[in-house]
Subunit: 344 residues, 2 copies
């Protein structure tokens, strides 16, 4: 275990490095108010901390910087999430209050607020669309051959998908089909739609619809768009201001990664309740080796819905970000409850 003094020094170094992005030397540590030891003493401790793997030296005559293990220790044992200031809280509330927002807009807005408060990149995963339930389905014919299938979920989310109308189905039949679907499928989670379609609905359609096989085909393509959850970004370029991303090649790699929604969503998705911190290589993904990812989940009815997260350099203001995400995760959960749960 680390001694009291070692903790103090480790914390001081992390603090300083997070703030100034430069190796910190014994002299500057010893000058801190809460530090009553000479540089020489500090140096001894720093050597020990380095031996233990919590610090490293960029080169032999530079100061020390925290290692990944150092950050990890700090985060695990010494982190007290920063409480938000009153101003921050009211700022956030204000941004949500602006007007009635649909589910998606709330999520999007959250991403914006987060990135503007942290000046890191924020990434918010929307709910697995399949988790939500069918509220209403519409089939709007556009021409003789084409139509748009519109699915509205219980959260007010709207999905639409162009479909072609198979030979033989006429407008009247389509209307009948839609009525049947709305009767039978309201409240069904989107993820079960296709299954229901090939069982229960197939039978019902067979009874009432002439060209039921064509109808099934149509509906199949209407339901097929397996939209994963949406990924909302804000402050994508914030991270370029960090001195560790001064190299265009690295930047390109990182930004390319961020364009791949599926990848990002896989990396960010977190099923655990609460705040989760992944530091550097813990992300198991080379382009993020110098980044830390902090995520928190939000939920509704106690069911996990999505994830809010921050992507920054490993040299990140952990306490602040953790505090913020914690707040957001709870606030978002509350907000959603307030807005949507009462409609059940």
């Amino acid at each position: 275990m680390l001694t009291e003094r070692q903790l103090l020094i480790l914390k001081a170094i992390i603090d300083d490095y997070v703030c100034h992005a430069e190796p910190v030397g014994s002299r500057s540590v010893s000058k801190r108010d809460d530090m009553n030891f000479s540089p020489a003493t500090i140096r001894n401790e720093m050597a020990d901390l380095e031996e233990l793997g919590f610090l490293e030296k960029p080169h032999s005559s530079a100061g020390r910087i925290p290692s990944q293990k150092g950050y990890r220790y700090f985060v695990d044992h010494m982190l007290s999430p920063a409480a938000l200031s009153k101003n921050e809280v009211s700022d956030i509330r204000l941004m949500y209050e602006q007007r009635f927002l649909e589910f998606e807009k709330i999520i999007q807005q959250s991403a914006k607020i987060l990135s503007s408060l942290t000046s890191y990149t924020s990434i918010v995963l929307g709910p697995e669309i399949f988790e939500s339930r069918l509220h209403q389905i519409q089939l709007v014919p556009i021409s003789k051959d084409n139509a748009v299938a519109i699915i509205v979920t219980d959260t007010g989310h709207v999905e639409n998908q162009a479909v072609s109308i198979p030979e033989g189905l006429d407008i009247g039949e389509i209307e009948k089909i839609v009525n049947i679907l709305n009767e039978r499928l309201r409240g069904v989670p989107l993820i079960h739609l296709r299954h229901k379609l090939t069982t229960e609905i197939r039978n019902v359609l067979a009874k009432y619809i002439d060209h039921h096989e064509q109808a099934i085909e149509l509906l199949n393509s209407a339901f097929k768009d397996s939209h994963n959850e949406k990924v909302y970004y804000a402050g994508k370029t914030n991270i370029l201001s960090q001195p560790e991303f001064n190299d265009v090649n690295r930047v390109r790699e990182l930004l390319n990664t961020l364009e791949e929604d599926a990848l990002v969503s896989r990396l960010f998705r977190s099923e655990e309740q609460g705040v989760r911190i992944r530091i550097g290589e813990e992300n198991q993904f080379a382009p993020f080796d110098d980044c830390s990812v902090i995520t928190a989940t939000y939920s509704m009815d106690g069911k996990h819905l999505g994830t809010v997260g921050i992507l920054g350099p490993t040299r990140m203001e952990y306490q602040r970000v953790v505090g913020l995400l914690d707040f957001f995760s709870k606030d978002l959960t509350n907000l959603l409850k307030q807005r949507y749960q009462k409609s059940d």
Copy 2:
């Protein structure tokens, strides 16, 4: 006017510079197959071309690079759009044929193809949403207080907007309202919806609906979302591979700009038929001073719909890009005609 030989040399320099991104000297120009003059002769001509403003020197003992005026001259007088190779054409066709695509997907796909073929950044502006006409409108209540307004256009585009239901309106009335709207407003350009609402529709509603003022309020907010045209990007980070964007600050500035859809749309929108080239400062926008923007329009029923464009360094393969965009602009117009026009 420039002599035959000057043209030849200017073209050679542009070719070389576009390809290698380095100032080109008299020696390398004279070595070209079609160049039967000594370096000294070339040097004289180059000095003349510089005096005329078509070339410039980064410093006194470097080779020459084309000036903006040089590119402009090249583009205006010497550009023969490169015809696409058979392979390219069939590649493109293939990508469109994959499956039935709704309007938006086609546009999006086009952006992808363009960027992958050019390795520049491609930007495609969707149709001014207001230009398209209302096909159908739906109001789907989600809870007692909230609903989703869904607008389907004649191109199969779907817009949706969360609205709150004013006190006093009940489900029955909402249904009546929707019916009235669909009867009266089908075929009306979206841009005229709000006007119609406050004139014709207001009167009709006043006649048939009890809480018609609340209804107007509801519809107003349903129509308010003044969605400009959508902007689709592809290959956003391609431009980072260009050596002229080796500076992170410049990159940040550029990428920040690209996040501002409204700005980009204003800069790219082109009303003129055909291909349009803006070189460097011709863009009238500082972050694009080292960029060229080439755009072409696509249309339907002879009516201008949107713009396809390429953003690259001023040192761009003009002939190839112009050829491509020309092809795209026509192909897209055809495709849209084939898919949507017959439904009229």
